[in-house]
Structure formats: C-alpha cells, structure tokens
C-alpha cells in the first residue's frame, strides 16, 4: 500500500516535472531555431551581396575574354580528357605550359586582381594596394570569403554534373595558415580544372539567372562553408559564366554552437530544479492523503482504533472524516463477527468431536485386527483394542451372541441384499456403557472387504459413529414427521387395491369382533377356538398394518402375544389372560372402523377411491381432478377443501385444457400457499379451498379455477385483467422461489399460449383473499 502511495506521489511529481521541462525545452528549441534561421538568412544575403559586387567588377571586355577562354578550354581535347563517370576528381585538360601562357596574359591578370580584391573586401578592411600579389596576407583575420573563382558554362552543357575553372583568385599554391605545408583547402584552383558539382540545386538556379546560395552548410576538415553562385551575363543578357564564392560560416557556426551549449546547460538546470519543485509540491499535496493511507493500512491490520485528525476544511478532511466513521463501524462489526465466529466454531468443533468415527476391521474369527482409528479407543474407553474378540466388547450376553451370529452371516458369502444386512445388524443403534462407564449412543455399520484375488470376504470393516451429541431434538422431530408421512403413503398405496379387498377387510373386522366375544364367553373351554381366533387376529393385524391402521395393528399384536400364551400355557394364569384378551378386544372394537368411516378417511387423505362401477366420462373426469388436487394437497401436507364440478357438454373442453389445469395447480401449490398464521390473519379458514368448475354456456365452455391462497403479487388487487395483458407487462413470480414445480413465469406463458391456440380467453382476478382464473374456450 505504501508502495502504491509512492507510486502516486511519483506520478504526481513526474507530471509536474514533465510540464516544467517540456515548457523549457520547447521554448529553447524555438529560440534556437529562430536565431539560427536569422543568422542563416543574414549570411545568405551577405554571400549574395558579395556575388553581385564581384559580377559588377567585371567589365564587358573581361566577360568577352572569359567567354573566349571557356570556348578554348571546351575544345574537343579538353572535353575528351574527362573520363566517363569520374566525379569530383580534379582533371586538368591543359598542359602546364599552356596554362602558364594563359595566366601571363594581361586580360587574365586583370580578372584575377578583381577576384583578389573581392576576397579581401570580405575581411576586416579592404585591400588598398594597386596590385595584390598572390601571397598577400590580410590584416587581422582571414577574409570571410575563403576562395572566389569563375566557372565556365560550356562544360556544364556537356556534363551537368561538372563545372570547369576559368579563373581563380590565385594561381600559385600558398601556405596561407603558415603551417609549413599545403593543406587540401590550400590547393590551387587551376585554369581548366573540372569539379563535380556539389550544390546541384544552387548551380541550376544560377545557370537560370538567379543569384543562388547552397541550401545548407557544407562541413569540410578546414571549416564550415556555404557556397554562392552568381550568374555572369554577356551584353545579350545570356549567362556565360558563374562567379562562385566559398564563404566561411565558421563564426556564425561557432555562435550557434555556443547557443546550443548554453541551451543544454539551461535544460539540465531546469531538470534539476523541476525535480526538486515537483518532489516538494507532491509531498505537500499528498501529506494529508498519506495520513489517510496510513490509517487504511492500520485498519487493514485490524487496528480499528485509528482516527485521523481532521483539521483543515478541504475535501481531504471530508475524506478523513468518512474514514474515521468507517473505521468505527468496521471496529464494531468486527467485534460482533468475532463473537459469532467463536460461537459457531465451538458448535462445529463439538459436532466434529461427536462425529468422530471409530474404524476397525475384524477377521473371520471375529477378532479385531491391529489397525484401527484412534477415535475407536475413546469410544470404547480402552487403551488397546486389537486382538480381542469383537463381540466381547458387549457385556450383554444376548447382544454379544447376536453380534457373533451376524459376523458369521456376513462372512457366509451368501447373497444378501444390503438393506437386509443393515436391518439384521444388531448394532444398528445401541446405547453402550463403555469401559470408563460413559454412556454413548453408537451406530455400527459393517462392510465386507473382499480379497482382490478370490473375491471372498476376508475382513469386515466396522465403522462406529458416536451419536451421543448428534441425536438432536430436531432429528427426532423429523423422524416423527417421516413416520406420519409413511402412514399417508400407505393409504395412498392402498388406493390401488380393488374394492372387494376393502370389503373383505370390513368382513374380517366384523368376524374378529364376533369371534372375540364368543371366545371371551367360553374362555378356556375350547383350545381350537383359541387357535382359530389367534389365526384370525394375526391375519387382521397384517391387513390393518398394510392399510395404515397402526394403532389397531399394535393392539392386535399385543393380543397375539397373550393368545399365544393362552395356547402354549405361559407363566401367566388363565384369569389374567382372559382379562387382558378381553381388554384388548374391546380396545380394538373402538379402533375398528366401519366402511363409511374408512371411506371418509380415505377421501380426506387421497380423495375419492377408485371404484369399478360404471361411470360417465364426465364423472370420471371429475373424479380424476378431485383426486389429483387432493393428492397434490397431500403431497404438500396442506389441508384442503376441494370442489370439482363439470356441467354437461364440457368434457372435451376440460380435456383440451388438461395441461392448463396442471399449471394452475402447480402455481397454487408452489407459490400460493400460506402458513396457518397468515391464513388466520387474513380471516381465512384453516384449510385451503380450491374449486374447479366448468359450465357450457352458449357456444362457449367457461372453466373457472378458484383458490383462496396467497394472491399473485404485483397485480392490482381485485381487478379482472386479461392474462395476455399481464404477460406483456412482464409478470414476475410473486415469490423468488423457483422450484422444480413452478416459479419461472413460464406456467403463465404456457396457459396464455395454450388458451390462445384454442381461440379462447383467460382473465385473472387476484387479491389476498382469493385468486380466480376464468378461461373461456369456444366449442
């Protein structure tokens, strides 16, 4: 986090720095560009001025002479002397004798004198001698014109890349800088020498009659130069020769260089200054932020006591204030959380402790093997458990021998189903007092471990779960609920049983009561009577159990015990037995139900029983839906009053709306249910009321589905609205409880589209009192 702060500070400093440096460098570059452009243009105009002056010095006679000289030098001999492709090489087309002869002519000497005068005029002071010798040295500095010469144009006409020297300001080699040798720049420009053109652009311009200057500096070992080309015209105005001036730019170049160096110094200075200023400024700006940052780090380290001083009244102090609030809230929240986590951890660790499993293996002989889990010792309260007989762990003799028999069965290799093995397990659920005297609720499970090669059972893996703490009240409650549910299931299952069987059960009950009373009247007189009654009791018990009359079955079971004693002659005397048998038969009578009561109970639980009598299609349809709705209610364990009535001529319409009704039911049970308190609050009876009716009216069948559950949320209460309109507006499910059954709003879509396909209409009216779907389809 600190690193990030520095990053931010660094970025801020860098921004300030870049602005400062950028501004300075830009202005420096601008200043330099302006200055150098100015110096250049001054120099260019000086060169041009000297060029024009030089040309002015030449008389028409001089020009005529130069023209003639050019023509002579451009003779076939001279031109042929130029090797093809040679560039920049100095080639003389004349012999030394011929050159000397030309130099000695007066006309030539006059031109040379004029060129020398022009050269010295660019120095500190103009030369005043009548004749300037070749080795004349200027007073003070060397003149700025380094060399001045005249080029012919004939050569150029043949090869545009070359110029030929007609006359130069000197004709002897002179050691001008007095260093005792002739340097390249001191080389003599001789008559007829041919040069490769270096400034093609300027030369072309001059040949076209302009006073032209090279467009950049030319750097040579001897210095920095610019070259000026001034056209020399004859009386007709034609360009017959060029006056070429090599002008030294050393002074100006030096000035520019010094300017550059100064600029660099300034930039470095500004850089250093900018670094300091940027660093200082950013530090100043970030100081309050840094305090907040440090506080955030401390909060991150769970120190919620941190507070920031909120002195000044800028935005940052607002931030600091917010931060203080946050720290305080976090502190409170954290304390709470810690408390809750501690409590939860305790719960979980207790649970884990309770769930710790004992694991051990036993061999065919019932002997515990050497490998077992540590928890096993704690559960049994012993220090060592290996090599003991497993059944000996149980002091109860009966249990111990049952365990031995069970182990034997497990090893028998017989094909026994897993549920059966589990049921036969005598240690499924035991209350065990261990060696330390602790009472524990244990659950043992056995798993045969087959050998890899022979597939035979070699070992039994025994898992012991200590449920002493795990058996909570909640679990007991859910078990009780499951038992109740099982009773429902039994009855529902019974619905598949033909009516004749039910009738037989009724008869069986009646016979039982009749025989029972007869038995009591003549108790002990006839042994056959007892045996026959015992058989009847047993048969009735089986059926009562199957039909879900558990209390009756329990009493019949008890009765069976006493009857067996009476038959076999047990430890109880006959008077006692008679009394008990009589008591139980009377108890059974109270529990025995007549046909009406039985049918009522079945109807209450699962709707109309299926009967084999002939019924109209409409009645069958009605019973079907009655049954369906009742089953649905039983599935959700909701008490429901169901009414189904279909008028004549509605069969087809109801059948075509089958899936629509299914959807309506699903929605009712998945979303529409309320708990008992909610219903009470809204003044509704405890049981849900559902009615499904269909009537044939005109050329339409109107199907009405009415239920008084929770309304559909999001719809105006009590208004009748076409379903299509609701869907267009986007109906969301009343409760965010999508289940497998319903909840994605697709049901409504389905209803609307199915009815639309039948060219029918659907409206819905809903309130917290009842919801009504009215579906009309043409027939």
């Amino acid at each position: 986090m600190l690193g990030k702060l520095f990053n931010f500070r660094f970025r801020l400093a860098a921004a300030i720095f870049l602005v400062a440096v950028g501004a300075t460098v830009t202005s420096l570059i601008y200043y330099y560009q302006m200055t150098s452009a100015q110096i250049w243009s001054q120099m260019v105009s000086r060169v041009k001025d000297f060029g024009k002056l030089g040309v002015t010095l030449l008389t028409p006679a001089d020009i005529k002479y130069l023209q003639t000289l050019d023509s002579t030098l451009n003779s076939a001999r001279g031109a042929a002397a130029l090797p093809p492709g040679v560039k920049g090489a100095v080639i003389s087309a004349l012999s030394e004798e011929e050159k000397t002869a030309i130099i000695r002519t007066t006309a030539y000497q006059i031109i040379v004198q004029k060129l020398r005068r022009l050269r010295f005029a660019s120095g500190k002071s103009a030369a005043h001698e009548t004749i300037l010798s070749a080795d004349h040295v200027a007073e003070g500095n060397e003149p700025q014109i380094h060399r001045v010469w005249i080029s012919g144009v004939k050569m150029h006409e043949i090869t545009p890349m070359h110029l030929r020297v007609l006359a130069a300001d000197e004709f002897e080699e002179i050691d001008r800088d007095n260093n005792g040798r002739i340097d390249p720049h001191e080389k003599l420009y001789r008559i007829g020498d041919i040069f490769a053109v270096k400034q093609q652009f300027a030369v072309s311009a001059a040949l076209n009659g302009e006073v032209a200057v090279s467009n950049s500096y030319r750097t040579e070992t001897s210095g920095v130069f610019i070259a000026g080309y001034t056209p020399i015209r004859d009386a007709m105005g034609r360009v017959v020769a060029l006056l070429v001036i090599d002008f030294s730019a050393a002074t100006e170049f030096d000035a520019l260089f010094r300017l550059k160096v100064t600029g660099y110094y300034i930039i470095v200075g500004v850089l250093l200054l900018a670094v300091m200023v940027a660093s200082a400024t950013s530090k100043l700006l970030l100081k309050p932020l840094e305090a907040i940052q440090k506080a955030a780090i401390r909060i991150g380290q769970r120190d919620f006591s941190v507070r920031i001083e909120t002195g000044s009244s800028d935005e940052l102090s607002d931030l600091a204030y917010a931060m203080n609030l946050m720290a305080q809230e976090l502190g409170e929240y954290s304390t709470q959380m810690e408390r809750r986590i501690a409590a939860r951890t305790r719960e979980i660790s207790e649970m884990l402790e309770a769930l710790e499993q004992g694991v051990l293996t036993i061999d065919r002989g019932g002997i515990i093997q050497a490998e077992y889990s540590a928890a096993t010792l704690t559960i049994f309260g012993v220090k060592e458990i290996a090599h003991r007989r497993f059944s000996e762990l149980f002091s109860d003799e009966k249990l111990s021998s049952a365990v031995d028999r069970y182990i034997e069965v497990c090893f028998s290799g017989q094909d026994i189903s897993a549920p059966m093995l589990e049921k036969a397990n005598p240690l499924r659920q035991v209350t065990y007092r261990n060696a330390q005297g602790e009472v524990r609720h244990l659950r043992f499970s056995f798993r045969p471990l087959a050998g890899e090669t022979d597939g035979e059972v070699h070992r039994l893996l025994v898992t012991v779960v200590d449920e002493t703490y795990g058996v909570t009240l909640q679990e007991k409650i859910s078990l009780a609920e499951a038992a109740k549910r099982a009773e429902f299931d039994a009855i529902i299952n019974m619905m598949r049983v033909p009516a004749s069987i039910l009738d037989a059960f009724m008869v069986q009950q009646k016979e039982f009561l009749r025989d029972g009373k007869q038995l009591i009247g003549a108790f002990g007189s006839d042994r056959n009577l007892l045996t026959a009654f015992a058989s009847k009791t047993h048969a009735l018990k089986g059926n009562a159990l199957q039909l879900g009359f558990i209390p009756l079955a329990e009493r019949l079971h008890e009765l069976e015990d006493y009857l067996a004693q009476a038959i076999n002659g047990g430890e109880n005397d006959s008077r006692f037995l008679r009394h008990e048998i009589s008591r139980l038969i009377n108890a059974c009578e109270g529990l025995i139900v007549g046909r009406e009561k039985l049918v009522a109970r079945i109807r209450e639980l699962v709707g109309e029983p299926e009967q084999h009598s002939e019924k109209t299609e409409l009645e069958q349809l009605r019973l079907f839906w009655l049954n369906q709705i009742n089953r649905k209610a039983a599935e959700y364990s909701v008490p429901a009053g169901v009414e189904v009535s279909f008028g004549a001529g509605t069969e087809q319409a109801v059948q075509s709306l089958h899936n629509v009704i299914v959807q309506l039911l699903r929605n009712t049970f998945a979303h529409g249910l309320e708990n008992a308190e909610e219903r009470l609050e809204r003044g509704k009876p405890q049981s849900l009321s559902i009615s499904l009716t269909a009537i044939h009216a005109g050329d339409c069948v109107e199907l009405t589905y009415r239920q008084d559950g929770r309304g559909i949320a999001g719809l105006p209460s009590g208004q009748t609205i076409p379903l299509q309109d609701i869907l267009q507006k986007g109906l969301t499910s009343a409760h965010k409880s999508a289940t497998l059954e319903a909840g994605r709003g697709l049901g409504m879509e389905y209803i609307a589209s199915t009815v639309a396909a039948l060219r029918g209409t659907v409206t819905v009216t809903t309130s917290d009192q009842e919801t009504v779907f009215r579906i009309a389809v043409p027939v």
């Binding site: 028999r405 189903s417 397990n425 039994a490 299952n493 033909p498 058989s535 159990l545």
Partner: protein
C-alpha cells in the same frame, strides 16, 4: 418365468402382484404368478413348478416363512427369496439371513419402495 407369492393375506398377495404388474407393464404377461396362503401349500407349488423367485411372508399358519426357506436351502436350491414381513427386530432378521433369505422388505409395503427393492430381480431375469 414362474413366480411364487406366499402370504396368508390375500390383500398382501394382491398388492405384491399388482406392484409387479404395474412396473413391468406388458412384460408382466410373461410371468406366471402362483399364490399360496401358507408354507405347506407353497412347498407343494414350489416342488411342482420351476419357480425362479419367491416372495415370502414370515408368520404363516402350518409352515412359517423361515422354516420354508430352510427346507428349500437344505436341498441346495439357490432361488432368490424375498421376505416380506412386519418383523423388524434385527435378531429375527438375522435369523432369516442365516436361514438363506436374500432380501427383506418391511411391511407395510409401499409400491415405489417395494419396486426399488425387488426390481433388480426382474431386471436380472431380463424382464
């Protein structure tokens, strides 16, 4: 395939047969159901036919379920035997397992659960 249902209650026998018929649908036509109300009758039917699966009640007059199993097993017959009984104590179930009962269904029976436990016998028989 021949199948034997032994129970002294007609109701029980009807339910068992019905659950099998409902779950197997048309394939149930290939099953011949034999009913017996006690162990003695059952033994007679068993000896006269090629019974491949037995559903058996425990408490019956004349010859009870476990005795019936012992008799069958004593001849080395390994026909799968499913005990359907209200007996729930592990000691007696263990006794049945030791006698040679292969599977056990607790009364009162419920269609889906019963099928969960016995369905595999029919699948094994290719029905």
């Amino acid at each position: 395939m021949q199948l034997l249902i032994v129970d002294d209650s007609e109701l029980m026998r009807t339910i068992v047969e019905q659950v099998i018929r409902e779950n197997l649908k048309e394939a149930a036509d290939r099953i011949e159901f034999f009913h017996a109300a006690n162990g003695r009758d059952a033994m007679e039917i068993f000896q006269k036919n090629d019974i491949r699966l037995v559903f058996l009640d425990w408490n019956m007059p004349v010859l009870d379920g476990v005795e019936f199993v012992r008799e069958i097993r004593s001849t080395g017959n390994k026909v799968p035997i499913v005990m359907i009984t209200s007996v729930t104590d592990s000691e007696r179930i263990l006794q049945a397992a030791a006698a040679g009962v292969n599977s056990y269904v607790e009364k009162p029976i419920r269609g889906p659960q019963l099928w969960d436990q016995i369905g595999m016998f029919f699948r094994n028989a290719g029905l």
